[in-house]
């Protein structure tokens, strides 16, 4: 296990390679379909949100408002990342993102952007909403909740020892590409 802590500098991220298991700690921002499309179309990040040397988490959590007005995160697993493939490369380039947490992997454009700008794809266990919610120590803020609805909003989370696997590194390697090729070959032998 490799500890990966904020700030997520280019140097730390370039040191990671495909297959590394990491425990992530620090501030991360959620962002999924609505946020990616909005940024791709030239939308501005709200005041208080910076992705520079930061991590974007493909997640639509379950949040419960507490009597004191704060939020409690009660379920927070990753959502499928490939839907952001049309937008992700540009958001890595324009906002200085160093890490993308999600599930299911991403495609060639994201792979190329990770290599060029110094970013990694961190695969969390899909469906593990409770284990991952336990890693959220604090919900610091929420942005765009009214515009996009709770699952699609940007949530600012403080996480600690959040487990993930590097499946796309900053050196042009992708576990997803490799497994697709090997499974395709294995299937061809069995048809």
């Amino acid at each position: 296990m490799i500890k990966l802590s904020f700030p997520f500098t280019e140097e730390k991220v370039r040191a990671l390679k495909v297959g590394d298991e990491v425990l992530i700690s620090g501030v991360v921002f959620t962002g999924r379909d609505a946020v990616h499309k909005y940024l791709h179309e030239g939308g501005k990040l709200p005041d208080g949100v910076s992705l520079r040397d930061g991590i974007i988490y493909h997640c639509g959590p379950v949040m419960m408002k507490q009597p004191d007005g704060s939020w409690k995160c009660t379920a927070a697993g990753p959502t499928t990342s490939i839907r952001e493939e049309p937008y992700q490369w540009q958001i890595i380039r324009d906002f200085g993102v160093r890490g993308v947490i999600g599930k299911g992997g991403m495609g060639d454009r994201t792979l190329a952007a990770c290599k060029e700008y110094g970013c990694v794809y961190l695969h969390a266990v899909g469906g593990a909403a409770q284990v991952l919610a336990e890693c959220v120590n604090k919900v610091r803020n929420v942005y765009f909740a009214a515009e996009f609805g709770a699952p699609e909003a940007i949530w600012e989370l403080e996480i600690a020892d959040f487990p993930a696997v590097v499946t796309i590194d900053a050196h042009g390697n992708s576990l997803h590409r490799d497994i697709f090729a090997s499974s395709q070959a294995a299937l061809a032998e069995r048809l």
Binding site: A75, T80, G127, A128, Q130, L175, H176, S183, R190, L191
Partner: protein
């Protein structure tokens, strides 16, 4: 709150927070098969911890609490309209309590009113039967696995899939290859051979009401189920697509008649977070027994 509504809220809570025993057992068995220290074993361990934690905290196993699919067996003369109205209220209540995420979006305006109730949501499938029992089965199907479902119209030249047993086998295996880990594997396949575009998918999903360990009474379909399961687990896709021996936990296949011009094979994929429960209600709408 009526007794029916209270029973349905409890059904939703348990479906969202507790994995059925047959699925949990299959996940534990898969851990034994994976190599110690592998990414696959590591993923399954997190899955197992997650199952325990969700049950203990009575919180959703997965934050995507999915499409809400009710399958209801009712006696002749049962008031389905009142049932559906009550179930919609139960869904609203379960959402307020956090058993369900605010998960239902107006497809035209993009608005999420936070209730989980709207056109087509939740979905109801009523079936009359000659029994006084009311059986309510519930499936919560997340979007990640729904998105990797696929419908094939045979023949497909590119896959060398003709209108025969081998053609069906080829397209089902293609669906597994294309899904990789994106549907949160290890997954479970529900397949319908035949039907039309709507009934094919609908029947493929009713396969998720079967227990994992059951066997298909039709020998041809049983053979195909075992063959697909074995072959899928030789492909090395593994849990989450990390590589490994467990790509699928189960395969369930049914067949429906088709018109001569059409030959559809409809494949639905269920994630490991296989949320399926059911209750039998007594005359007072109390939960008499759990069906899984």
């Amino acid at each position: 709150m009526s007794q029916l509504q209270a029973s349905l809220v409890e059904l939703i809570r348990r479906t969202s927070a507790e994995i059925p025993d047959d699925v949990h057992q299959a996940i534990l068995t898969s851990l034994e098969n994976e190599k110690k220290g592998s990414l696959a074993a590591s993923a399954i361990k997190i899955i197992d911890q997650n199952i325990a934690l969700a049950k203990q905290k009575s919180q959703p196993i997965c934050q995507d609490t999915g499409s809400i699919l009710f399958y209801v067996d009712v006696p002749v003369g049962y008031d389905q309209i009142t049932f559906a109205e009550t179930a919609r209220e139960a869904v609203k209540e379960a959402t307020k309590k956090g058993f369900l995420r605010q998960n239902s979006v107006d497809s035209l305006t993009g608005k999420n009113d936070g209730t989980n109730v709207g056109p087509g949501a939740p979905a109801f499938h009523f079936h009359q039967h000659h029994s006084p029992d009311v059986n309510v089965r519930l499936v919560l199907k997340g979007g990640g696995c729904e998105n990797v479902g696929a419908q094939y119209s045979l023949p497909i030249e590119k896959l060398q899939a003709n209108r025969d047993h081998d053609g069906c086998r080829r397209v089902i295996l293609d669906a597994i290859l294309q899904a990789q880990g994106k549907g949160c594997g290890p997954g479970i396949l529900g397949v319908c051979i035949g039907g039309d575009r709507a009934t094919g998918y609908e029947l493929s999903k009713t396969q998720f009401l079967r227990r994992l360990e059951d066997r298909n009474p039709n020998p041809e379909l049983d053979g195909l189920e075992q063959d697909i399961l074995k072959t899928a687990n030789e492909l090395g896709i593994g849990p989450m697509g990390f590589g490994g021996k467990t790509t699928l936990l189960g395969v369930k296949i049914c067949a429906a008649n088709r018109v001569p011009a059409s030959f559809f094979v409809s494949v639905s994929y269920m994630c490991w977070a296989y949320r399926r429960q059911g209750v039998q209600l007594d005359a007072g709408s109390n939960i008499e027994k759990w069906l899984y």
